[in-house]
């Protein structure tokens, strides 16, 4: 870590700017000096994978990497980390491409209740990176900096040991560190930035110059095609009427037209105990009979944020229309911590509902989806049962594969014995 040779000073009730790289993305936070790194990661960057236990350096739940070395995030003040490179458990692997350590924890049932897991993953990542030859019998001592409350040590040690043996020549690096936008979950109480944003939102008719999408990989990508019964001309009418279009989307509500193709709106999504309410704006970038491109951004009252670019195109198919929707959705805050694939499933089902709503709207009927807040239970149940079905399919496939392999392995001599 190279700290700048500079006098930096902040008074007790001031905030100070600190710029660091978190999971590959540069972020600048404005914080009071007494905010610990663990709180900054969780509350200001929405990276709630870093758990907080004792908050005085004993339990190791908050272990993260600072410049490649495991450290206690609760024993560091964020302001100390100017220029530092931080890796949290979110940076270690991706939902669809887990780090070998994560795979191994899952395989060995080392996750148990999961509270200590981020700490153990980051601590063992540091251990295996710096001491790839660590002996099995040294693991209990080497991992003693993190406590497991449900005493699952045996499985944790087995999981780490297996990875150690598989990667003596070097552990793969963190697999989810890329340039992407990390937006604060909370604008730190009443920071000046927060106040300004609220003020902007309150001015009627006001909109930003443009909606800038974060760089990097989207949290969710959606690519769905739905078959509509309506004729192309009827669909074109819906494409031409943003108000009607908004009513087709479950939970969405258009509250204001700001002119210049800018709209203000609201979207409510409820998934079990999680209730998200986004207030935001959308800009229509392209509006033709068979193609609609729009960008939207919203902030959740819980501090999460979403930005999306949606491209919809209608192509005639038979007597009806094939409606294709592509979306790149960038999420931060607790909404992002759903898990990518589940969030992806939810958005896909929302698009399917949207397509049905469009079909009804195109036929001249009330879309009938916007009225009730998001049919969320139905969406979630639908999404979950889709996953359950997919899982069942893959399990069946796997068991078929296993049977085949077993049959192939079996040699005549063994059978005779």
């Amino acid at each position: 870590m190279s700290l700048p040779y500079a006098y930096a000073r902040t008074e007790a009730d001031d905030t100070v700017d600190v710029t660091m790289t978190v999971n590959g993305s540069e972020v600048t936070l404005s914080l009071p000096a007494r905010i610990t790194l663990s709180d900054a990661l969780r509350d200001h960057l929405g990276l709630t994978g870093t758990h907080v236990g004792c908050e005085h350096g004993i339990c190791g739940m908050c272990t993260i990497l600072v410049d490649g070395q495991a450290s206690r995030a609760c024993l560091l003040f964020a302001v100390q980390l100017e220029g530092a490179e931080i890796t949290t458990v979110e940076g270690l692997g991706r939902q669809d491409d887990l780090h070998p350590l994560q795979e191994s924890f899952s395989k060995h049932h080392a996750l148990q209740c999961g509270f200590c897991t981020p700490g153990f993953l980051m601590s063992s990542y540091d251990l295996l990176t710096h001491e790839p030859d660590v002996a099995t019998e040294d693991l209990p001592e080497e991992l003693s900096g993190v406590l497991c409350r449900c005493t699952g040590y045996r499985n944790i040690i087995d999981a780490v040991d297996e990875v150690a043996h598989a990667h003596r020549d070097g552990l793969p690096g963190p697999g989810n560190c890329a340039q992407r936008t990390l937006v604060g979950r909370t604008p730190s109480g009443a920071g000046p930035a927060a106040a300004a944003e609220v003020a902007t939102a309150a001015v009627p008719g006001h909109h930003p110059d443009e909606i800038a999408l974060p760089t990097g990989e989207p949290t969710i990508t959606v690519d769905v095609t739905s078959q509509l019964e309506s004729a192309p001309t009827e669909v074109a009418q819906v494409f031409g009427d943003i108000r009607l279009l908004a009513r087709c989307l479950p939970g969405a509500e258009l509250t204001d037209e700001l002119g210049d193709d800018w709209y203000r709106g609201r979207a409510r999504i409820a998934l079990g105990p999680v209730r998200l309410s986004f207030d935001g704006m959308a800009q229509v970038l392209e509006q033709r009979d068979d193609r609609l491109v729009l960008r939207a951004q919203g902030k959740d009252t819980g501090g999460g944020s979403a930005q999306a670019e949606i491209v919809m195109s209608a192509t005639p198919a038979g007597t009806g229309v094939s409606l294709h929707a592509e979306a790149r959705v960038f999420l931060t805050g607790r909404v992002a911590s759903f898990g990518r694939s589940l969030a992806g499933d939810v958005s896909r089902r929302m698009f399917e509902d949207f397509a049905r709503g469009m079909d009804r709207a195109a036929a001249g009927a009330e879309p009938d989806v916007g009225a009730k807040p998001p049919g969320a239970v139905a969406i979630l149940v639908g999404a979950l049962s889709d996953r359950a079905r997919a899982r069942l399919r893959s399990l069946r496939q796997r068991s078929r594969d296993r049977t085949t392999r077993r049959d192939r392995r079996r040699t005549p001599s063994r059978d005779e014995r």
């Binding site: 700290l3 700048p4 040779y5 500079a6 006098y7 930096a8 000073r9 902040t10 008074e11 007790a12 009730d13 100070v16 009071p32 000096a33 007494r34 905010i35 610990t36 709180d39 509350d43 908050e55 005085h56 350096g57 190791g60 272990t63 600072v66 070395q69 495991a70 450290s71 206690r72 609760c74 024993l75 560091l76 003040f77 302001v79 100390q80 601590s123 540091d126 251990l127 001592e141 080497e142 003693s144 900096g145 993190v146 909370t186 730190s188 109480g189 501090g303």
Partner: protein, 305 residues
Amino acid sequence: MNQPWKPAPFAYVRPGTTEDALTELARDGAKVLAGGQSLVPVLAMRLGRPSMLVDINAVPELRQISRSNGHLGVGATVRQRQVQYDDAAAAVPLLRLALPWVGHREIRSRGTVCGSIAHADPSAELPAVASCLDATMVVAGAEGVREIPAAEFFTGAMSTVILPEELLTEVRFPVAEEGDGFGFGEIARRHGDFALAGAAVRVRTTSAGSRARISCFGISDHPVTRDVTEQLRSALDATGTDPDESDLRRALADHADGIADDVVDTGGDAHASAAYRRQLIAGLVSRQVARAYLKSLRPHREGKP
């Protein structure tokens, strides 16, 4: 939104030079922040409420490990983990023996050697290492620089001769010489926890004979250093000068109770009674003195404690 403030508010300043750091430390209620691994818990529990933290991590000269005149100089912000693996630091084998016992890897990533010594926790390892080797603490203040030998440095639990407006800029450890052997051991309830009792040992064997020195911790409000040359000599009289390690340990054990009674002056606490600590010290001292003596017989090689 509710903020989870753990520490009380403090002003924060990050000077770039030692002089600027000293200017800041002269202010009322200022406290040095180096690794923070002992300080931040104290702040989190609000046992300490300094009005200002002076973060010395941006001062380049405090980040140095240097070697000169038979000393290894470790700067104020040099991390424990850095010393553990630094080639130059191999010249002080006792540091390498002791550092794996200091907290955990996660703590040593940030914790500093000087910080641990300046914090002077009675059960911490590095103050005992400094005492055993008779290291020199370099303390800077408005009046200039003071060089303080370990014997005069620790005044009690978490207390040293450093004044609030002064800064421990460097600790100078004497490098090992031919004929030096070292031992280090401690007993804690969990590896990485503060020690119930521990001992650092240096034995120097020359043609004139062997000299042994121990520094025990966790058993008093500061590291307790004793010369145990006589006890070692008596044990060697019983075993011969080239003994088996376990024979020497047994011979030393005859003297260990007397040593333990001498050094343990705690009344005991919630973690362990004084009697239990005496037993621990007796065992640790006989084991580590035996180990250090045998090491001192072999030609000294750097990096192989």
